[in-house]
Amino acid sequence: MQELIIIIITAALLSNVVLSQFLGICSFLGVSTKTDVALGMGGAVVFVITVASAVAFGLYQILELLKLQYLDTIVFILVIACLVQIVESFFKKYVPALYRALGVYLPLITTNCAVLGVALTNVQNNYNFWQSVACGFGTAMGYLIAIVILAGIRERNAANDVPAPFKGSPIVMITACLMAIAFFGFANLSI
């Protein structure tokens, strides 16, 4: 059990999917306008990545059996697309406000490099089932932490007098750059 916690913490902080591995940036920059929307997006990503890691592990066992490892990308991405569509219809029915707020960015989770990236790295590190789920959950928490922090900063940024050309996406990217450098601090934190 202790080993799983280490995996979760390393996935969330040490090699944060957004700020160290630099995957899933499109939705990270796109959705982080308000903290509650970011929280909603983070929640959706936590669900999708965790379940996707579990399902991907199962599928990979079958692929290994049939010696079709090269099919891992296509099979994983199919599963992720299906999961995202389920989450999308679930949100549309039960949390319509959040569904409208996330709008186009919900299907973008499917194209979110983080989700496929995690599934593929789980396979590369040949984790067992619980390790895969732990790594998936940790990575998703890392994504959630990063996106909520950025959303908080962006909300405060709206009030600051940013120089005119830097308004909009440039200031967001500079914020992300500073966060990424800050997360370097975690890089040599060994547990």
């Binding site: 049939l66 079709l68 099919l71 099979v75 299906c82 569509q85 219809s89 549309k92």
Partner: protein
């Protein structure tokens, strides 16, 4: 290696496995999505989707609702009239009426809108500086952004001033949004008289920059039987609720700035 050589080299068993595997996952996914799609389906009434199908779908926002989905929802809930879509006009209104079983006749014809450029100072009437630009700082600068914004080719820059083609204009307001000088106004279709100027300076200053500008003399305001026109901040403004198109203001205006 001849073609047959390549073909024999492939062990069809693996290829078959690959096809079965991907196909199998596709099958499971298809069924799963179908089922969850059904479980989580939101009760959008078929009628609303039918209404949405009638609408043109270019989301221009002319009806005042956020795109055609917004309008479809509003019509379905009865908040918007059947012919609220300016772009679709009567044809779309008829189709929607059919869908929700309402006769078009007894529905009050919603007032369509037409765009109007509140400036008539072209290169002849307006005073130009040495670089050939109009001196008046309120009027149309012929930048053409409205022409680019219009999806219905209903507005053109003619001799230095933007002019609206009333037949083609559907009143979607795209030009008004894009105009940097904010001098395009959406006027109800039935109204014929409009003040073609946006200059708030005094009469004397207006005369110095434009021969066709409103000099705020107030003749129109004094003579309007309905009191529908008033001079506010040196500029004649028409209240379209009260205006009955009688045209007295147009005759009385010494500088002919009221169209």
């Amino acid at each position: 290696m001849s073609v047959t050589g390549i073909v024999l080299a492939i062990s069809f068993q693996n290829v078959m496995y690959a096809t079965l595997m991907v196909g199998g996952v596709g099958l499971v996914i298809g069924l799963l999505l179908g089922v969850t799609g059904y479980i989580f389906r939101v009760e959008i009434d078929e009628k609303q989707q039918a209404i949405r199908a009638c609408l043109p779908g270019n989301n221009c926002g002319g009806c005042g609702y956020p795109g055609c989905d917004g309008l479809a929802e509003a019509i379905f809930k009865g908040e918007a009239p059947v012919n609220a879509c300016p772009v679709g006009g009567a044809a779309v209104a008829a189709k929607i009426a059919e869908v929700i079983g309402v006769e078009v006749a007894d529905v009050p014809a919603a007032e369509g809108k037409k765009a109007f450029v509140k400036c008539k100072g072209d290169n002849d009437t307006a005073v130009l500086n040495d670089k050939g630009r109009k001196v008046c700082k309120y009027g149309c600068i012929a930048c053409g952004l409205c022409v680019k914004a219009c999806a219905f080719d209903a507005i053109h820059v003619v001799n230095g001033v933007a002019v609206v083609d009333r037949e083609k204009c559907v009143g979607c307001g795209a030009c008004a949004a894009k105009c940097p000088k904010k001098i395009i106004e959406l006027v109800p279709e039935s109204k014929e008289h409009m003040v073609a100027c946006s200059n708030h300076d005094t009469g004397k200053e207006v005369r110095a920059v434009c021969k066709a500008g409103c000099i705020a003399c107030g003749m129109c305001a004094k003579n309007c039987p309905e009191g529908a026109i008033a001079v506010e901040d040196n500029l004649a403004v028409i209240d379209y609720e009260k205006c009955t198109n009688c045209g007295t203001c147009k005759e009385k205006c010494p500088v002919k700035v009221i169209r």
